[in-house]
Amino acid sequence: MSPARNTRGRATGLDARRVSRELHPVAWWLWAIGLVVAVDRTTNPLLLLLTLCVLGFVVANRRGSAPWARAFRYYVMLAGIVIVLRVLFRSVFPSGITPDDHILLRLPHVPAPSWYSGVQIGGPVTLEATLSATVDGLRLGTMLCCIGAANALANPKRALRVLPGALYELGMAVAVAVTLAPQLIESVQRVARARRLRGGGGRGLRALRSIAVPVLADALERALMLAAAMDSRGYGRSGAASGQSRRVTGGLMLTGLAGLCVGAYGLLDGTAPRVLGAPVLLAGALVSCAGLAIGGRRVRRTRYRPDPWSAPEWTVALCGVVCAALLYLSAGDSAAEVDPTFYPLRFPPLPLLPVIAILVAAVPAFAAPPPIRSRRRPNAPEASAEPAARTELVA
């Protein structure tokens, strides 16, 4: 191994003098939500493509080495699946073939009776329809990638700290669940390694049994240890809450959530009375907040090493907000450029202001502090570090 690789955590380039730290997770989420709002406003494939590249750029520059930091590529794959599905459905169920369309190929047409002429199965696949479907899929895929970027960049365990006090039990359960998958993988790798060291070969059901049983035992043991540790730290106590206050909290929360459901329905359904829309939604939100506030009073929490919110956090969050705002502003003026169509077929335009808005969202790649990176592979089990060290000695 070269000596350069042994200098642990040495940052390069622009980040050489900056202190590595994790950015506040809320800042990353605000940035990502701003981008989602911006993407929602446009159907221009060039703008969507640029947004994807900006996401990739920021994630590549600012992700840490935790297991969740590798999530982004799976979201990109998911986006690809979304696009393929959208194109497939549009091809199998074509609608609206105009005489001017450019036909790529003709699928076998399944004739439908006249009373079912609204849906057509098979028939010509046109370039226009394929492009429209691709862009439609790309839009949804880009939104998914925005969420993926936030997941890769923000530490989910730290994000749970932002939850209101009343939800801390729920947050705790989520925190335990989030750490489960990496722990299981680590456990499987460790057991498999132990098996190999003992010379236990074999594949198939036998190998599965000899791995599954120790892994399950390991998981149980770990759960018991976690439970004991949490117990000793005072988790799970009901605090000073009386039965009545708990009932009041529960009642308020249920009423509030019911109000939120009814309000959302009223807002989305055009035929519902107006009163059922925004007013009920607002009332539901207020009642829910009251429930959370009352419920939160019985929980006293202290914070160990609170995440700071300083200039980089402001910058990252503002970049998201500015991106969304700029795109909304420009969409009014250059609506035809932000939402181009492929009927008739033509090259999509590239409006200046939205491009600037999307490039602003790339600023966090420099504005955020460099992430903490460990030299070791993050997900690797403790034990796997040993053979590496041993080979080094041998070499």
Partner: protein
């Protein structure tokens, strides 16, 4: 640690996507030949009560007239619109089958309405503001909400199709998107009285409003208009004729509801057949160059003129700039990944 143990980062699919996008752009460039010219519009005179289909678009929402055109032998309401000279635009989600914008050279030089500022035409337009599609088959005296979309509907001879922008309730019975006047005001008129002889059915309803229209075939480029029943034509919506309200049809309606609708429509037709039209008038033959402005429900009616299509393929420069920018960003991401791998 061997290099192979380093994980590959998710930039690979991203690059592939970029490549695919470039490819699509190239295909688009190759596939888009010169824009096809549109066949010239059928002159309004070629529509008679028994031949051809009248299509009218109401631009009253933007202070415009009702623009009336004619088409013969089209296989869809969409083709009829285009044959009559209108231009349409669909929405990004549904494609051109959902008519989101309509335009005609006779109103504001063919500008399509609603404008992009008023309606983005990304999702399917809401019922609070959309082009409602009404049909009045030959021999009926009221509008029926079209049970199919513009591309599913098959225009029949003697029918009138009407597009009006506005809001309707889900049942399609109330709202600004419901026509306030009957189809008689828009129907084609036979050039001579002799054509009103076919059946009793036509003679009792549609041809009673017979007037004489110009017979010149080259008259589509003028805005001089057809002589017409006077403005006093009674507004006859479905409620006026005493038929049950017709359900609002969706683009993809199930066969059961479609049948119900058809049944209602037949019943409505039956109704009007037995009810003599209240405003049957006969006009003397007038000359082609009549200066009288025809009106329907208080609105001016003008003839459709062929709307030129925007045929330009646009410039490929934005595509190149965008791809260059994207490549730059990808290069930045690649550099970060390379640095990280060297570090590890």
């Amino acid at each position: 640690m061997s290099a192979s143990r380093h994980r590959r980062w998710g930039i690979a699919p991203l690059r592939a996507q970029l490549l695919a996008a470039t490819l699509i752009g190239v295909i688009a460039l190759l596939a888009d030949g010169p824009a096809l010219g549109r066949a010239s519009a059928a002159p309004l005179g070629s529509c008679t009560p028994a031949h051809g289909t009248i299509v009218a678009v109401d631009f009253a929402h933007w202070g415009g007239p009702i623009v009336r055109g004619c088409g013969v032998g089209q296989h869809s309401g969409y083709a009829l619109l285009h044959a009559a000279g209108f231009s349409t635009a669909g929405d990004a989600h549904d494609g051109p089958a959902v008519v989101c914008r309509l335009g005609d050279a006779a109103f504001h030089h063919g500008r399509q309405y609603p404008t992009p500022n008023q309606q983005a035409c990304v999702q399917t337009p809401p019922t609070t503001g959309y082009w409602a599609y009404w049909v009045a088959p030959r021999g009926t005296n009221h509008w029926a909400y079209a049970p199919l979309g513009a591309m599913g509907d098959v225009p029949k001879p003697g029918e009138v199709e009407f597009w009006i922008f506005g809001a309707t309730n889900v049942a399609g019975t109330h709202g600004t998107g419901v026509p306030t006047f009957g189809p008689a005001a828009l129907r084609a008129h036979s050039p001579t009285r002799a054509s009103a002889t076919s059946t009793t059915r036509t003679s009792t309803s549609s041809t009673t409003t017979t007037t004489t229209t110009r017979t010149s075939t080259s008259s589509t480029t003028t805005t001089t208009t057809t002589p017409h029943p006077p403005a006093t034509s009674t507004p006859t919506t479905t409620t006026h004729t005493g038929t049950p309200p017709l359900p609002r049809a969706h683009l993809r309606r199930t066969h059961r509801t479609h049948r119900t609708h058809r049944h209602l429509r037949d019943r409505a037709a039956h109704h009007s057949r037995h009810r003599a039209p209240q405003h049957s008038r006969r006009h003397a033959a007038t000359t082609t160059h009549s200066t009288a402005t025809p009106r329907a429900g208080g609105a001016k009616v003008v003839s459709a003129r062929p709307t030129s299509r925007r045929g330009s393929a646009g410039s490929s420069t934005p595509l190149i700039i965008a791809v260059a920018l994207a490549l730059l960003l990808c290069a930045g991401a690649g550099r970060a990944i390379w640095l990280r791998r060297r570090e590890e």
